[in-house]
Symmetry: C2
Subunit: 284 residues, 2 copies
């Protein structure tokens, strides 16, 4: 990992930063692929929307030049953290005039996921750690991520690539690090994230692509029976892109056996095209 | 602020620490009063219970000697943070064998609250930011505190000392930095914290004292109407101790006018006694 904090190369953060004490900030995880920062503008829009909800004024116009200065690889992961900055003890944030948000950029190598995950699909499990129900925080990629940490700690079997999380009311919400989609009778479904979960960038792209391709889309609350009846199922995030799901717990997905379903395959191809599209990336 | 990280004086934390990325840890806020670390053993028990729930193994036997080494005041606040320690990108925590938790101790001066808060009571408001509903995280003093930050940012009027937070189901849960108690027909009530909120140390002491004093106690879910009907109301935390509440929004508490109610006064006196009791503190 190499990193910049407010433009300066360092590997340490001041202890008075509110990211440490309260998780008072947001982050973005951006794929660097073939020298391109994928979906850069979308990541910046989400970051700015999140900052607005938290009352943080980020210096986001500096981020692209700092990212280019930092990144020394054609393929990897750029993580951006914006925190509210330094502060004294106590929850009360400094006013927007007083506060000096902290920009952290860190560059990582790409995680070594097996190629089969994309090509043949993954096995999913159900997690018992619930997602937090809180409309004031839902959808944001904020730094309060203990629920994901606890859910991901539930299993160590490398044959299981992802775990699904439910809210306390039993609605399926998302994977520990991904958003969930499923196809039922030709309609694409994805959970409503207005009360919990993280609204991912690839989720946004997939929803746009489905609309462009005239695939009917529904976004509401689902129980595990709904997804167990699905014909196709997949998870998405910025680093993995799209992984088809071939198995939930011990159950095989879809009535037609293994392999990638037709709608999933269409969206996967369209997602690959979108990645290459002008305006959807910035060069490193 | 002066601080120790893993025993060494520093004001910076390694950027790879999971406290920064995920709020993956816990904290304690301990009052230093007249050279005593109040309720030290209780804080340590809560910290250890929280660490057990998060799967963190703290080096808690080092904390008291490090606190004594750090603290250079008779009156102030000691904050202890235990994080899961350093790690790579990704939610999955290192195994308990691999992980090296980080101990952060920081010493602050006592916040300058007006003496009237204790002596005459405070004014409370209702916050619109809800507490998060999540039984896997409820009760713990973990580092995911964005809900408190957003709630505390809702007002700046210095005449209002605290704000009450409700869960998404409309149950009153706690103050932004305190626990809530109220008295109705001689019974002491406090909200159930099994789905959200932080179970405070002074809350624990007050519940014990009430039982010792044969005050009937109930702990369940309440709506705002329940607290608006209360005869007495107060909030507690380790730094403030106990603040009576004289006003909620614009409404005066209790039918008998201003001043501290009889049960509140009894508990305040008993709390003061408990503070002095052998075994309930450690000398600095």
């Amino acid at each position: 990992m190499s990193a910049l904090i407010n433009g300066a190369a360092t590997d340490q953060l001041f202890l008075s930063d509110r990211a440490i004490h309260y998780g008072d900030g947001l982050f973005e995880t951006i794929a660097i692929r073939a020298g391109r920062l994928e979906f850069w503008q979308r990541h910046m829009r989400r970051l700015n929307r999140g900052c607005e909800r938290l009352g943080i004024t980020p210096n986001s116009e500096l981020l692209l030049s700092e990212a280019r200065h930092l990144i020394n690889t054609e393929d990897g992961v750029l993580k951006i953290i914006i925190s509210r900055g330094e502060g004294g003890r106590g929850y009360r944030p400094p006013s927007m005039e007083e506060s000096r948000p902290t920009r952290i950029l860190a560059c990582y190598s790409r995680p070594g996921y097996p190629a089969e995950n994309s090509e043949q699909g993954i096995a999913l499990r159900y997690c018992t750690t619930p997602t937090s129900l809180n409309p004031a925080l839902a959808g944001m990629k904020h730094l309060n991520r203990l629920e994901q940490v606890l859910a991901r700690a539930e299993w160590s079997d490398p044959a299981i690539a992802e775990g699904l999380m439910f809210d306390r009311d039993g609605h399926v919400i998302e994977g520990t690090m991904s958003n969930l989609f499923f196809v039922c009778d030709g309609t694409l479904h994805t959970p409503d994230l207005s009360n919990s979960g993280v609204a991912g960038i690839i989720r946004e792209v997939i929803l746009e692509l489905a609309t462009d391709m005239n695939i009917p889309v529904q976004c509401r609350y689902y129980a595990c029976q709904d997804i167990e009846r699905a014909d196709e199922l997949f998870v998405t995030n910025s680093v993995i892109g799209l992984w088809p799901v071939r198995q939930i717990q011990a159950r095989q997905v879809g009535a037609h056996g293994w392999g990638i379903g037709a709608v999933t395959q269409q969206l996967l191809t369209a997602l690959d095209g979108k990645r290459q599209q002008k305006g959807e990336y910035e060069s490193v």
